[in-house]
Symmetry: C2
Subunit: 369 residues, 2 copies
Amino acid sequence: MAKAAPVTASTVLELTEALPLDCGQSLAGVRIAYETYGSLNAAGDNAVLICHATTGDQYLASTHPITGKPGWWDRMVGPGKGIDTDRFYVICPNVLGSCMGTSGPSSPAPDGQPWAMRFPVITIRDMVRAHLALLDALGVGQLHAVVGGSMGGMQALSLAANWPDRARRVLAIAATGEMPAQNIAFQEVGRQAVMADPNWQGGAYYNTGKAPDAGLSVARMAAHITYLSQATLSEKFGRRLQDREAKSFGFDADFQVESYLRYQGESFTGRFDANSYLYITRAMSYFDLAEECGGLLADAFTDCKARFCLVSFDTDWLYPTIESRNLAHALNAAGAPVSFVELAAPFGHDSFLLEVPELDRVIAGFLDQ
Amino acid sequence: MAKAAPVTASTVLELTEALPLDCGQSLAGVRIAYETYGSLNAAGDNAVLICHATTGDQYLASTHPITGKPGWWDRMVGPGKGIDTDRFYVICPNVLGSCMGTSGPSSPAPDGQPWAMRFPVITIRDMVRAHLALLDALGVGQLHAVVGGSMGGMQALSLAANWPDRARRVLAIAATGEMPAQNIAFQEVGRQAVMADPNWQGGAYYNTGKAPDAGLSVARMAAHITYLSQATLSEKFGRRLQDREAKSFGFDADFQVESYLRYQGESFTGRFDANSYLYITRAMSYFDLAEECGGLLADAFTDCKARFCLVSFDTDWLYPTIESRNLAHALNAAGAPVSFVELAAPFGHDSFLLEVPELDRVIAGFLDQ
C-alpha cells in the first residue's frame, strides 16, 4: 500500500493487475498519473477524489508543466479554499485514455510502439475503475467525497452508481446522467475534424514527425464555443476588430472572437494528443447511466447511500439545468438524499472553472455536511 | 428590359455594367442565375423578391438540378400557397458569391481561370446590389415585398435600409441586424475547417481533381447542429444506435445522430463549392446594419417607408428572438410600422424551412396588408 504524500505529490502509479474494461478486454500495465494535496488522516476518512473534465488533467492546483499556468481549479483547491487541503486529502488522477502520464493511445503498447488506435475504446466507468485502483493503492477506502464538473461529474456519478459504498458524498457540477444527442453531435464533429486531417494517418502519427494539429485545432475551436455562453462571447468580444481599424475584406482574423478562437485551437494542440481527444469524446458519447442498469436512471442509484449535490448554471447550454434536474428526480426516486441548485453565472458551461463565489460556498458547505 | 416569364423560368442574366462592391472594387461581367414563378402584372406592382439563406439557391419551388429534391421553399411558394404565385410574381436569385450559376469564386475570372480566392470579398449589401440589378432588368421597380429567412432576412433588411423606396413590405424571418459574436465564431470554425484541408490549396483546387470535401463536410456538420434545436435532436435521434444492437466500441457512426450528421456533411459537398462557403460566411460575419450608418441600428431605417414584419422562433438559438426584438425596437425608434411575432416551433433555426403552419398564415397575412 502506498503511503500518502505529505503536501503535494506528483506521481505515477503502475497497476500490477490488468484493468478490466467495459469493452470486454483487460488492459495490462496501466499507469495512472496523479497529484495529491494535503494528507490522509489517521482514520483514512478525509480523502476527496476530484475528477477532471474532457481535456483537463491532474494539475488541479499546481502549475501545469507544459503551459506554465496555474492548476485548472487552483481557485477552488488549497489551504482554506472551497476544498480545503488543510482538512482534506485531495487526489486528482489523469483519466484513462488521456495524455498527461496516464495510459492512453499515445502510451507504449506491449510491443513498445504507441498504442494509437489499437488502444481499447474506454468508457467513463473504465476511467472510474482506474481511479479506484489508485485509491486502493493509496489506502483510501471510502471517500469523504467524489467531486467533478462536466465529464468529471459523470465520473463522480458513475462511481456512485457502480460502487455505491465507495463515497459518502457525490458532487456533480454541470453534468448529465445520459449524454444528450446534441452533445453526441458536437463530439462527433470534433472527431471528424481530427480524422479528416491527413496527418492523422489512421492515428499512427506518433513516429512520423507530423500530427493532426490542424484538425485538432478545428475540433477545439468548435468545442470551445460550446463551453461559453452567448452573453460571454458578446460581452467579451462582441463585433470588435482585432488590431485593425477596419475590416480587411479578406480571410484573416478580422474579429477578436476569430483571433481568440484560433489561439484556443492552436495552443490546445501543444498540450493535448489528438487520439486522446478521440477516445475521451467517445467515452463521453457512450455515457448513459440509465442504459447501464436497464433503462431507468433511478435504478442506477438504488443501492447508493451517499449524499448527492448537483449544481447547474443558468447560462450553460451544453449541459443545461434540465440534465441536472433529471438526475435530481432520479435520485429522489431512488430515495437518495440530494440537494440541487441552479446557480446564476454568466460564463456558460465553463462557469464551474471560473469565478463564481457561490459555487465555492455550495461546495464547502456540502463537504461539511 | 427583359420581359417577365409566364410561369416558371430559369435564367441567367449577365450584367452589362460593372457591379460596385463595398470593398471598393467593381466586378465586371457579373452573372445572376435566378428563377421566377408567376407573372408580373400590368401595373408592375406584384413582384416579390425572395432571398435565400447561406447555402440555399434559386431553386425555391422547383426541383434542384443536382439533388433532384423539391425546391427549398416548395411548401410556401406556389399557386394558392402562403406566397401565392397566382397573385405574385416571385423572383429568387442565387446570391453573389454562390455556386449555382451566379458569379462567385468558382466562376471564370477575366483570364478564363476560376476566380478562386481572387474573387473580391463581398457583403450582404453587395448581394442586394446584384438583386437590384436583376430587378432593373426584369422591369420591377418597387417590390410588393422582399422576403427572406436567416441570411435571406439580412438581405431583405439590407435592401430596406439602403434602398428604402425599393420595397413596400419587408419580411425578415429568423434574422438579425448585427451578426452576434457566437455566430461569427461558428462561421470562423467552418472556414477554418475548409482551409485546414490540404486539398483546399489556398482555394486553387478547381483544376486539380481534388476538392476540400473533408473540410467542407466538417464545416457543414458543425453548422448543421446550430440549425436544429436540442429538442429536435433528442426527439429525432436521442441516443438511438444506427443499424446495430450494441455499441461497437469503435469510431464508426454508432449513433443515429452521428450517421445523420456524416450524411449531411458528405452530401453537402456534392452540391456546394467550398470557396463559396468561405465567401458567404464572410459576408455574414461582416453584416452589421448599425455600423453601416454610424452605430445606431435605428438610423439604418430612418428613410424607410416600408411596412416590416419580423418573425422569430422560440427554439432558434442561432438567431434567437432577442435579435428580432432588437430589430423591432430599432424600427419602432425609426417610426417604421413593424409587426413582430415569436412563433412556437420545435425545429430551431431551420423552422423557417419546415412545417410551421402559423408561419404560412403570418406571411400570407402580411403580404395581403
